[in-house]
């Protein structure tokens, strides 16, 4: 009883901390000039979002978020940025294109209006009429999030799960095919260089 009241007491503070951290670092992603800074700020965003998932009670997605997004994808992005070695000269934000700036301002307005309307109305008016499932918070705590998630994934969603493996295989083959062109040209260049050198 003592711990549950403590959790309800600190939950808002944890949520506001990580939500504001996510929003601020997402803004830092789009305002920082260096792409490497953007990538590091995006890692911070992903970690904050993982904390928000854990707060929502879906630990599975929090773990996947940290493993796949903050781990695998961001390592790939940072590697690519380091390979490309971009100069931060022409990387500033440009508002000169009028259509793009117009759409961006419309999105900012949507952001403001949606936030205000949600803060005054709230989502529950929509959720009240919807059909509820049987995985309540009590079931989740008694059976464990991972068990329920895995059971749904391997029974009801088995075909999409297998198709995901097919998708990842196609992605791997696609990357290999794309990169093979580069290695072939490098090999031909080396070969040309060698024959020229031999000719001299």
């Amino acid at each position: 009883m003592e711990t549950s009241s403590l959790i309800t007491f600190i939950k808002p503070f944890v949520f506001y901390t990580f939500a504001s951290l996510a929003v601020i670092s997402a803004i830092m992603v789009i305002v920082s000039r260096n792409p490497l800074n953007s990538a590091v700020m995006l890692v911070l965003t992903f970690f904050s979002i993982a904390a928000v998932y854990a707060l929502m009670g879906s630990e599975v997605i929090a773990v996947f978020q940290i493993l796949v997004y903050a781990g695998a994808i961001m390592v790939l992005v940072i590697f690519v940025i380091m390979f490309l070695n971009l100069r931060p000269s022409n990387l500033k934000i440009q508002f000169n294109h009028i259509i793009r700036s117009g759409i961006a301002i419309v999105f900012m307005l949507i952001m403001f209006i949606a936030t205000m309307s949600l803060l005054t109305e709230g989502v529950p008016f929509y959720m009240a009429n919807a059909a509820k499932g049987d995985i309540t918070q009590a079931v989740l705590e008694s059976q464990g999030a991972f068990q329920l998630f895995s059971r749904a994934l391997f029974t009801e969603y088995l075909l999409p799960f297998e198709l995901t493996s097919l998708l990842l295989t196609v992605a791997i083959i696609g990357v290999v095919v794309l990169i093979r062109g580069i290695t072939n040209t490098v090999a031909t260049k080396k070969e040309n260089f060698k024959t020229k050198g031999d000719g001299k």
Partner: protein, 108 residues
């Protein structure tokens, strides 16, 4: 139900507001930035915002279908980032730039 929001009680509305904010930040970033890598990162922010909304509604409706869907979204995002980043590397080798205003060879 139309009463004002209680600040000290975290409901689904809070998560949806966070999702809206992140999605719009990502969309604005896609529109105002001209670097292809930063545009890619902003698309990732938008995907994450949608994932937050999916998990929030899934928890609010006492289901875990939304979470399973988020799993598939993460798998597709991983495949997309692998293909997209290798395409960016190839593009940089061809054009020596990642500024999307200068990459306009498909313009009719």
């Amino acid at each position: 139900m139309a009463a004002g929001l209680n600040v000290m009680e975290i409901t689904q509305t809070h998560y949806i507001v966070l999702s809206v904010l992140l999605f719009c930040i990502g969309a604005v970033g896609v529109l105002v930035r001209r670097n292809a890598i930063v545009i890619f990162l902003c698309v990732e922010i938008m995907l994450n915002a949608v994932n937050i909304a999916l998990v929030a509604f899934s928890r609010g409706l006492d289901q875990n279908r939304g979470e399973v869907f988020v799993f598939f979204v993460i798998a597709v995002a991983a495949a997309e980032s692998a293909i997209g980043l290798s395409l960016l590397i190839l593009l940089y080798r061809q054009k020596r730039t990642l500024d999307v205003d200068e990459i306009n060879s498909l313009k009719g």
